[in-house]
Subunit: 301 residues, 2 copies
């Protein structure tokens, strides 16, 4: 089944303790769509400037990502520059130039409106809500958010949360959004705000799925070379939603497997700058990490 | 099979943001033996002062813990007082009075020397080594350590590490001992120092078993009321080693299950002060949490 993503397309400049990269293709919708494209056709809604590179258009088309919803506006594409500290967990933003993204209004082409699977990447909650008003009877809608919106736009955030099925966020955001230091107590409070399904990303500590009353835990793949964490969260979401859309149903079993596929994709993402490590993955590559992850929690009878 | 533990027996005073307890029975050997006693007979080696309470002796005997190796020395029993900060992870030590523990020399009664399973709790590496010279052909020896010995006694620590089978430590200690920020790289370096089996405790993030080349991950049980973390690590070790000693073999499958049993015991430990929540557990109580933990990583075919 088809999968809609609304988010950002950007050029990222990244400095890590080991290396640096200038203006590589990034943005939440890019990472998401690239990861998800290994499972299912993706309908992308985003905006780029008139400086967007032809080869990046060609790449996305090649990955069978529909660009009918990609707006081109006069001006420059969204740019972000950041530096990772020695621990590779903390980072400082050197600049964020929203450029054409500043006035982005998501508009869904008619052909996108009946997408059964929808992912609202980390954009303003009002924009996320505007997308919901354009989709018709989706089967499963998941969203991302961040501390900026949790503290800066609590009311619009509550409004969008009340109408989505799933929320994919990290553990620090769970604590901030719920006001609870215990992640399990916090998860219950967030479920009461709307989403019955929470996917809580804990970086090197894996990911926790809370689905109604049930918990599922997937460890992180033992990555020994953490090269660039940028986009790992959106890549996780892309693998997760891509798998669900491919399977075409949302029950406890498929959600569990979706977390494993999301984790597998994210483990590749961090091994190179930008989308370099996920753009050309084969089904065998993905299966290899899925198998390794399932072996990590296997309990013999 | 029988299980030997060498460690401390103490009276702990604990302050948490919610409550406080004065002079409750604690110490690494106490937590370990109480947890392990649910699985197998335990041989305990430690020292107490002449102020040690009769009812605590009676309790340990009641749990089928052999006290033939419990020395009584003139003076006071080891006392520790600590305060947990709001996050319940960080704590400050208010005092440590070693008392009779200061001159503790582990001496194994003859009947203990052929214990097939041995746990060297967190005591000085020279004392741990002295124990190894008194045991005859053990099947599996595991040890604990801490930052104090990693930085303060690196040579004796290397010596004991080179002769044990397993090391049970937390993730921060893995980083400190290996000098590696990546836990998987660090684990390989520590395996090269001796122990082929590492059990890395990550608190609320679960526990990672590294056994030769294989990884196993067990999540933490979703505890919603973290009351007192004191002793959780030793309780984990007691459940882990107790299960192994009960099964009587050390292969990949039994090590994996042992991590699950250790996690189950530790999840109870933190729900009350001292050993209050683990002293009277039934087999059904333990199985309930083991089942919950296995359900958390179950992947339907």
């Amino acid at each position: 089944m088809s999968l809609l993503v609304v988010g950002s397309v950007a050029y990222d400049s990244i400095i890590t303790p080991q290396a640096a990269a200038d203006e590589v293709l990034g943005g939440s919708a890019t990472f998401f769509a690239t990861a998800a494209s290994h499972f299912t056709p993706v309908n992308l809604v985003a905006v780029v400037g008139d400086d967007f590179h032809h080869q990046d258009i060609a790449f996305l088309k090649d990955r069978k990502v529909s660009l009918e919803g990609l707006q081109t506006a006069p001006g420059k594409t969204f740019r972000w520059k950041g530096r990772y500290l020695e621990n590779m967990n903390d980072r400082e933003t050197l600049y964020t130039h929203l450029n054409v993204f500043e006035t982005f209004k998501p508009e869904l082409p008619l052909s996108y409106r009946n997408s059964p699977f929808v992912f609202l990447a980390n954009i303003g909650p009002e924009l996320q809500y505007a997308v919901m008003q354009q989709v018709t009877k989706p089967l499963f809608v998941a969203m991302d958010t961040m501390n900026f919106w949790i503290s800066g736009a609590p009311e619009p955030l509550r409004k969008i949360l009340s109408v989505v099925d799933g929320l994919i966020i990290n553990d620090a955001e769970v604590k901030e959004l719920s006001g609870e230091s215990n992640i399990f107590v916090g998860a219950r409070k967030i479920q009461a705000m709307g989403p019955s399904t929470l996917i809580i990303k804990k970086g090197e500590h894996g990911a926790l799925l809370v689905h109604n009353q049930s918990y599922f835990y997937c460890p992180a793949y033992p990555v020994t070379l953490l090269y660039d964490p940028t986009g790992a969260g959106d890549t996780f979401a892309g693998g997760f939603m891509g798998y669900l859309a491919k399977i075409g149903k949302v029950d406890d079993a498929s959600l569990r497997w979706a977390v494993v596929y999301g984790s597998a994709l994210a483990s590749y993402c961090v091994e190179a700058f930008g989308i370099a490590a996920i753009r050309d993955l084969s089904a065998v590559d993905i299966q290899k990490r899925v198998d390794a992850l399932t072996a990590m929690t296997r309990l013999p009878a």
